[in-house]
């Protein structure tokens, strides 16, 4: 008999899941234990399995949709021509009332074709994560995202979902929101109808609650001269929310100061040129050498390789460096462990492997948690210098600018061209004092400017 397949809770803490990709198309049959979809949580993408054999009769949500765990996402059954009208009716009834599956999807969104094409599993090259590759045509573009689904999903948050679904209570307006916007049921209903974002309103009700009058008085968009495209609401992915939460906490809770130095990179430029000629297969980048230099400096600076705690500062026994990796919809910081004990080539290999996993959304928690220091490099974008936000539990982050050829005044008082790179370290002042940080940068300078030491 046909039945709903519900969004599985693929991790114990998962509340919302994003349907990243359907792995079984409509009409396709599947064996027991088949992965029928890939599901994104706030941490990683996971496989959603189905336990029995059957046929995928209908997809109820589209790729890119975010729904709570337990929410019906597909109808599965024993054969493709089963009568699913009852189930569809129940689901549609819910949709009309503003359920998570969204309203009429045909207005502003192309109907999504069943994803027949197998996903291109080939790992992308680490250097070009954002560019679509030639030969990648089979890959489905991410579906457009619509603003109204955000509120729709919110309404379902925290309810007994599957039971509620089969016996729909209707849109009673008793929304419990993920973000807990204080608003009356009536205000919510009107706002949803008029497409007004409650987050942008100031409530005048008791305790700042948004009431009907606030929604009705929401200012109309002022007419701007010229034509403009309508604003687009890009739904916050689980990762986006995690980034927002963690960075806000860090920025708010940690007293920081910044130390900027300019390194003479002549030695590194010469070393890399030499390695390229002598060991062309090794593929050692400046970044790899810098990671190595930081690791050696950290090994000598236990006061910096440390974390704040209310009772005590922990001086870490290992040097675990997080390396920020940009992703199409966010960033993540895979962690290299015991970096002070790794060779340059090993560092390079590990960075590329972790970055690859990161871009596929396949990092395991132990591969991105618990760094003791962080490096963020925007040099490849031509950024001369910048400051970064500390990635706890690390107490410092090194923001690395571009390697540049600049005129410098040499010891003889003459102008000469030289390779320079500016780095700015953001320090947690609870752990690192100005002098401590400055001393660390002195040690780091020694390794960066005399890179032969890195080979010892």
């Amino acid at each position: 008999m046909a039945q709903f397949y519900e969004m599985p809770a693929v991790s114990p803490t998962m509340e919302l899941g994003t349907l990243v990709e359907w792995r079984v198309a409509e009409g396709e049959s599947f064996e027991p234990q088949t992965v029928i979809a890939e599901v994104g949580t706030d941490k990683a993408n996971m496989d959603a399995e189905i336990f029995d054999a059957g046929v995928m009769i209908k997809h109820l949500i589209e790729e890119g949709d975010e729904v709570p765990a337990g929410y019906p996402i597909a109808i599965v059954g024993e054969s493709a021509d089963e009568d699913i009208s009852e189930l569809v009716k129940a689901f549609e009834a819910q949709k009309d009332r503003g359920s998570p599956s969204g309203g009429d999807a045909s207005d502003d969104e192309e109907p999504s074709s069943p994803s027949q094409e197998a996903r291109d599993e080939e790992t992308e090259e680490a250097e070009e994560p954002r560019e679509p590759k030639a030969g990648d045509e089979g890959k489905k573009a991410p579906p457009p995202r619509r603003a109204e689904k955000v509120s729709i999903t919110r309404q379902w948050q925290g309810r007994a979902l599957s039971a509620a679904f089969m016996d729909p209570p209707g849109d009673i307006g008793a929304a419990t929101t993920a973000e807990r916007v204080a608003a009356s049921p009536l205000a919510r209903k009107i706002a949803a109808d008029k497409g007004i974002d409650l987050n942008k309103l100031q409530g005048t009700g008791p305790g700042g609650r948004i009431v009907k009058a606030d929604v009705l008085e929401a200012p109309a968009r002022p007419a701007a001269p010229g034509t403009s495209r309508a604003d687009e609401q890009v739904r916050n992915s689980p990762m986006r929310k995690t980034i927002a939460k963690r960075l806000l906490e860090s920025h708010r809770d940690i007293p920081t100061f910044f130390l900027t130095v300019s390194f003479d990179m002549g030695g590194m430029v010469a070393l890399r040129a030499s390695l390229k000629t002598q060991a062309p297969d090794a593929k050692v980048s400046y970044n790899d050498m810098l990671i190595k230099a930081v690791a050696r400096a950290l090994a000598e600076s236990p006061q910096v390789n440390a974390s704040w705690g209310d009772k005590a500062i922990t001086r870490h026994g290992s040097v675990d460096i997080g390396v920020a990796v940009a992703l199409p919809d966010g960033l993540i910081t895979p962690v290299l462990r015991n970096v002070d004990q790794l060779g340059l080539a090993q560092i390079g290999d590990q960075v590329r492997e972790l970055a690859g996993l990161a871009r596929e959304g396949k990092l395991k928690p132990e591969q991105y948690q618990g760094n003791t220091f962080t490096i963020s490099n925007l040099g490849m974008y031509g950024i001369e210098e910048f400051t970064a936000i500390i990635n706890p539990p690390a107490s410092a982050i090194l923001a690395v600018g571009a390697l540049e050829r600049v005129p410098v005044v040499n010891d003889q008082g003459e102008l000469e061209p030289a390779w320079r790179m500016k780095v700015t370290m953001t320090c947690d002042h609870r752990v690192i004092d100005g002098a401590t940080g400055a001393e660390f940068l002195q040690v780091l300078r020694r390794y960066v400017e005399s890179p032969a030491l890195l080979l010892l």
């Binding site: 009673i172 307006g173 009356s184 049921p185 009536l186 009431v211």
Partner: protein, 462 residues
């Protein structure tokens, strides 16, 4: 005794005494001046004693139908003096309660008559002794109102009375003419009728309880008529006056009514005289003190609450709500305006009437679209069991968003039930949410849920 205060409240009725207590709670050095009894009209001559009388009336009528319940009670005879005594005892209890609250919160209770004597100055004239000069940063006027009279209506307090005399009178009239079919008029009509007095109610409007939804008034009148009350609607009393042992009322329609008592219940007049308002330049309109949403008068530092001001219906709970907003703002606290659109209104005759929000007539007049839901108590199990199947719940629902525009209850427990609708409207609960909220079974309250469900086309029991 101290003569300098942060806050002086003049009047200790349902506006004044909460204002004083709230002020003291918020740290203001507060005095409350009252020339009569603490608690004002509400507690001493209005809301509270009348509820005691009405309970007697309800019991008497129930006892007359005791056999319906399988009981033999015999003939019911009325000891009118004791009925009134009981109501005085109840009032007295609450009157003392206010005194002890004043003591508890440190409000100075000053007895006497007060008058504004310039900015920040109040003259207190005690019953005995010399006048005193008091000063206060803030002066809150809460002197209330009294029954309104008209030329030709000659209130003598014996034959032609207002509620004030009627509620303490221990003489039961044989025949009474009540002018006005508002809440006070109907409550007295029901009480007197239940006590065995012949009752005639005169109302200028076409229906009783003219502020209520028309259907509600009609239902109440139907039941009161059946109990033997005579209604003269659509006509006004041209005159009312004592005539020997009787009182005579001449109606616009030419009829002359004779009775041994006339009760004048034609609305209220504010007690704004002799307060020194004019001298200080406090603006009034038809006697009512003009205030803003924070109850500030045209003179800084002077505020007016309750029946005295020109805002909202003249109800005790309106006055108390205003007191909270006014004093909290004086003390610098943020608090939302009083919501007059969500002010419940109750009448305590049997069947009781309670309502909040728009009547159907008002919704029509505003040009709103609405759906009506109605549910009779006859279809409600608890009401049937209680032997009170009269009346119904009527709601007006906005068809677009399910806002509860108005709710009207006539029947048993109506005045208790209405709080649910007031709360729902205050929280802006939608009709769908109201119906989805589980109501205990069996309760009168289920009728509210069913009425809303009716409007949505979802009622199970009708």
């Amino acid at each position: 005794m101290s003569t300098s205060y942060d806050l002086i409240v003049i009047g200790a009725g349902p506006a004044g005494y909460p204002a004083a207590i709230r002020g003291a709670q918020l740290g203001l050095k507060t005095a409350c001046i009252e020339r009569e009894l603490l608690g004002g009209v509400c507690l001493n001559w209005g809301c509270i004693p009348s509820k005691a009388l009405l309970k007697t009336a309800e019991l008497a009528n129930k006892m007359r139908h005791a056999s319906d319940f399988g009981l033999r009670a015999g003939d019911v005879s009325v000891d009118f003096g004791r009925v009134v005594d009981r109501s005085r005892t109840v009032s007295g209890r609450f009157n003392k309660g206010v005194a002890s609250l004043f003591k508890k919160y440190g409000v100075d209770h000053l007895e006497g008559t007060a008058r504004l004597a310039g900015k920040g100055h109040v003259t207190l004239q005690p019953r005995d002794g010399d006048a005193q000069e008091l000063t206060a940063k803030h002066i809150v006027l809460a002197t209330g109102a009294r029954a309104r009279t008209f030329p030709g209506i000659e209130v003598d307090g014996e034959k032609v009375m207002t509620y004030r005399e009627a509620i303490v009178s221990k003489e039961q009239p044989e025949r009474i003419v009540i002018l006005g079919a508002g809440a006070i008029g109907l409550e007295f009509a029901y009480f007197m009728n239940a006590m065995g007095t012949e009752v005639i109610v005169v109302e200028g409007q076409a229906e009783v309880l003219p502020l209520e939804d028309r259907e509600i008034g009609k239902e109440v009148r139907r039941h009161l008529s059946r109990a033997g009350i005579r209604f003269e609607l659509g006509t006004l009393a041209r005159s009312a006056q004592a005539d020997g042992d009787e009182a005579v009322v001449e109606l616009d329609n030419g009829e002359t009514l004779r009775a041994d008592r006339v009760l004048v219940a034609l609305g209220i007049s504010p007690n704004s005289e002799d307060l020194g308002l004019e001298e200080l330049g406090v603006k009034t309109e038809r006697g009512f003190v003009v205030v803003d949403a924070s109850y500030r008068t045209s003179v800084p530092g002077v505020y007016a609450l309750g029946d005295l001001n020109d805002r909202g219906p003249a109800l005790a709970h309106t006055a108390t709500a205003q007191a909270h907003v006014c004093v909290d703002r004086i003390a610098g606290h943020r608090i939302a305006d009083v919501d007059y659109d969500n002010m419940p209104s109750c009448t305590y005759c049997i069947p009781q009437v309670a309502s909040v929000g728009l009547t159907e007539e008002a919704a029509k007049k505003k040009g709103l679209s609405y759906k009506v839901g109605k549910f009779p108590f006859a279809a409600n199990g608890k009401a049937q069991g209680a032997g009170a199947p009269e009346g119904f719940v009527k709601v007006l629902i906005d068809p677009e968003y399910g806002e509860i525009l108005g709710a009207h209850i006539v029947g048993s427990e109506a005045t208790e039930l209405i709080a649910n609708f007031v709360m729902a409207r205050s929280a802006e609960a939608t009709a769908e949410l109201f119906v989805h909220t589980v109501h205990a079974h069996p309760t009168h309250g289920e009728a509210m849920m069913e009425a809303v469900a009716q409007a949505l086309g979802q009622s199970v029991h009708l």
